[in-house]
Symmetry: C2
Subunit: 296 residues, 2 copies
């Protein structure tokens, strides 16, 4: 079993993976070009773990002690690393550069995973010096509650490596989902992108407004959220980036424009305090959401 885990890139997901791994008693080292930013990201997790996971301040502090270093050094974070999780920005060049730089510093034993959400392993494997020890391990935002780890290798990945990573996923309290074959968007996004697009099309075509669409889906299926609530969670900037690429009809372009206006006004989702709903007390949290106001 892995013991020394290095997280490269402590952005939104990287910092969450680092803390969750530390909380589960692994030795964690963080590589980040700006160590101060990484520290701020980690500190910002405290209220979430307190609220969602019931952690005490003492427990949070104790977990932080398992993070042994946060640096932009090319030696310390990598020299005895069992498992490296790469979370650097989603650009092929950035990732290629990172692998080019880091591989010479890694011991032979190190297994490398990318957390890339937009790339597939066959795109990245050529940049590592150990294709048999390379795979993707994809996390979802707020990994402490959305605790799925989508795991997929290439044809070259050794089965033992996949197994070890599955064990590691369980050890940090993730549900490991092993994909037999690489897939853009893995499983979760491969399902949710067409679902969210269908909702945007209904809105674009003037069939119903976002709130009504959410109510219909929730009431008809018993699902605790509707598509526009999901978009607020994912962030409207991401939804816009995907939808605007394929928008062609005047109706689609109008919806893309509406989302652009929302983003420009700073209303880009839960994180911003406003999206399709207003936070922290959105309408859908009210007990009478589905019954009080007539769905238009």
């Amino acid at each position: 079993m892995f013991k020394n885990i290095t997280i490269a890139g402590a952005g939104t997901l990287g910092s969450q993976i680092a803390f969750q791994t530390a909380l589960c008693d692994f030795n964690v080292r963080i590589w980040n070009p700006h160590p101060d930013r990484a520290k701020r990201r980690l500190a910002a997790l405290r209220p979430f773990y307190k609220k969602d996971m019931g952690l005490t301040d003492a427990q949070f502090d104790k977990a932080m002690e398992n993070i042994h270093s946060i640096s932009n050094d090319w030696e310390i974070p990598f020299k005895d690393c069992d498992y490296l999780i790469e979370c650097v920005p989603e650009s092929l060049n950035t990732k290629a550069d990172f692998y080019h730089n880091v591989c010479p510093h890694l011991p032979e034993k190190t297994v490398i995973a990318s957390n890339s959400s937009t790339m597939v392993p066959s795109q990245l494997v050529n940049y590592v010096d150990r294709p048999d020890k390379f795979l993707h391990m994809h996390f979802a935002n707020h990994i402490w509650t959305n605790n799925t780890a989508e795991i997929v290798g290439t044809e070259k990945t050794k089965p033992e490596v996949i197994k070890e990573v599955i064990e590691f996923a369980k050890a940090i309290k993730m549900l490991p989902v092993h994909l037999q074959k690489e897939q853009h968007g893995y499983i979760m996004n491969a399902l949710s992108v067409p679902f969210l697009n269908a909702a945007l099309e209904l809105w674009a075509n003037g069939v119903a407004d976002p709130i009504t669409i959410d109510k219909d889906w929730m009431n008809s299926t018993g699902c605790p959220f509707g598509p526009f609530m999901s978009m607020d969670m994912v962030g409207i900037r991401t939804v816009y980036a995907i939808f605007s690429q394929q928008a062609r009809t005047p109706e689609e372009l109008k919806v893309a424009k509406t989302m652009k206006d929302m983003i420009d006004a700073g209303h880009y989702g839960v994180e911003a305090g406003q999206g399709f709903y207003q936070y922290p007390n959105p309408a859908f949290k009210r007990a009478d959401f589905l019954t009080s106001i007539e769905a238009r």
Copy 2:
């Protein structure tokens, strides 16, 4: 407010709408070519209303008393009808014939709704003698729990008529969802068809098996069901009918074939006791469904 409601066609949905309407104290009349079959359909609802809605036998019997007639007569069910809900089989010819036959027997006041799931109002409005009093009111199977009524008219439907139908929907304990414009599949199916197709594509392409896909979706989103659980509920015959029409690649054809084999073996979903899962105690009802067995 409507008082006398006639349901034409007491198949799966028609019988449910008739009983739910009777339970909510309306005067109900049923038109069905085979009155005996309609009676059997109604009787078959008893265990569901007892189990899901906590109805006593006495309450069920009392509601049944509000069903004043079940006949294939062209006079009795229609002569003082305020609101006619047409639930005859999903064939344009069958519906056109029905409207041709029924309209001369309806008083001027009668509002007509079709429960069609596959057609849109502009396809049917030409067959009625009162376009301003015609609209669609679409119910989902098991209307007592999946209590959404999707309501949509044509350009000719009077706004007052829409309003009356929305009030009626509330009176029979449905969430009325008014679509501003007609839409194939209304909202619910317009969202779920692309979602279920995406799941079938993942399976077809060998990314993961149905159970793993369900687990990923449930664990990642907190939704209480996954796409293949939905398919079991909808019925694999319906899913197959939609998917097989568009299957082109060898992988898609293979999945279509697998579903066809399931249907031929009688494993077409919840109703059959077997689909992707086995019923009445499917694996996903176990508390440890998401954690016990490693998602493959």
